[in-house]
Symmetry: C2
Subunit: 269 residues, 2 copies
């Protein structure tokens, strides 16, 4: 059994120090094995220019991640959340870290960028991957990746039992649609969405929709937040429940796929 | 604009003549351009042996389809529904016909067979395709195909505006999950599910879950049936609404796919 804590927060735009302290403080509020935070939980979301993003982006090797690594080692916990990632070659990705055992276990770069993110970030090049932690297998996707069934499917085919899904959702569709994502892959999906409102110099006025949740492989909503609360709550799950893809004596969900008949797997027609 | 009628019926097991008469009668009950019937609407579902299926399967060119073709010509309507299809080489498929303009516009063979269908039918080899009718583009999938996002995705990538989905659902998941299928592809999905109970010599006791529905590209449930009524109802839709895949000034749903990063498109890893 594994305890996952979901932190539904309202990060302060461009105040990495305050947001970082909030992340650290929230891990002390409740006991859990893994703490999941929203997308871009260290910087906020509504940037006004690429230059601004560059100013607030972090290299993988930065003082905050160093402190988070030490925290995971001392407390024997893991942390997953989003950040603006700067690379040595000058690219900025909308990324998520999965930190545990005192190190970066995995780094995921958002595959499908939404709206103005396309002005500010480079489309992710990491692809989807699965990492072992505490005997379970985890994959990550970020926010708008949800609408592409190929994202969760890729993770399920790679063996993910639990999909960690940091989000900054402004539309209300995802939370409802994750029912389908869970039952079509028989995996757990944990979404940490943010709340609050952000405006910027580009006249964007974004109201985030909260509704963070954990959905089980059978589609049961195990944990749900409302659309405006700032809170951290946890739930115990058995990741091995996601290994049972057998629906009846004739059907095994993923083995029954027939990729030779599918369109669009590798290239659009 | 196009009027689709959904017939939620309880076919009689192994009584093709009665089921055929019901199909014909229902098309006279209400005015529509297209009438959608459940999976295996001519034979019923709960077969007891492959021999029994062979006994009731129909070749594409059979007296019933001939009469349906004439009906579509006289009334200027189209009909879609499921039947057990026998082929010259002795195979039996769980198929769906789309008949209009006095001819078979398309024939689809179910890709993903559920439960005991695997004993009775050959896995479909038609793959997914889209056909034009009345200026709109239609694709078909059958029942359990719903759980594979690759099915509806294939049809959307081939240009389908409306997915016709004959079903014999015994579980309650599909009706709820079609919200995701519609918004992730921005297509209309019309599901005609059956009601009633069937038992057979194999001790199967199947209660069908009704809940036929039409879901719009934005996820709105335009038409819903309850879980037990036998009824035919219609709705007007504008198929061209499915052509708008633009979410905002930066995102176009299908163009933003990144197949080069997806796992499992052609073969499982």
């Amino acid at each position: 059994m594994l305890t996952i804590a979901i932190a539904q927060t309202a990060p302060k735009l461009l105040d990495v120090e305050a947001n970082f302290e909030q992340v650290v403080n929230l891990t002390g509020r409740i006991a859990a094995d893994i703490y999941l935070f929203p997308e871009l939980c260290l910087s906020g979301y509504a940037f006004s220019s690429p230059e601004e993003v560059h100013g607030w982006a972090l290299h993988q090797d930065n003082p905050y991640s160093g402190r988070l690594m030490r925290l995971t080692e001392e407390r024997e916990i893991a942390l997953c959340g989003g950040y603006a990632e700067a690379t040595a070659d000058g690219a900025i990705y909308n990324s998520a870290f999965f930190i545990g055992n005192g190190k970066l276990l995995a780094n995921y770069r958002k595959t499908h960028l939404f709206y103005r993110e396309r002005q500010f970030f480079t489309p992710g090049n990491s692809g989807f991957s699965v990492v072992q932690y505490l005997g379970a297998r985890f994959g990550m996707m970020i926010c708008y990746d949800w609408i592409y069934p190929e994202a969760a499917r890729s993770l399920a085919l790679l063996g993910a039992q639990v999909i960690l899904h940091p989000a900054n959702l402004v539309l209300p569709y995802c939370q409802r649609a994750m029912f389908a994502r869970s039952v079509e892959n028989r995996v757990f999906i944990a979404t940490a969405n943010r709340v609050g409102r952000e405006t910027n110099a580009l006249s964007d006025d974004l109201l985030f929709t909260g509704g963070s949740q954990v959905v089980a492989p059978d589609g049961e909503y195990l944990l749900t937040f409302d659309d405006s609360e700032s809170a951290v709550r946890s739930i115990q799950i058995d990741p091995s429940a996601a290994d049972n893809k057998v629906l009846n004596s004739f059907n095994s969900l993923l083995e029954d796929r027939r990729p030779e008949l599918y369109v669009g797997g590798v290239q659009s027609p």
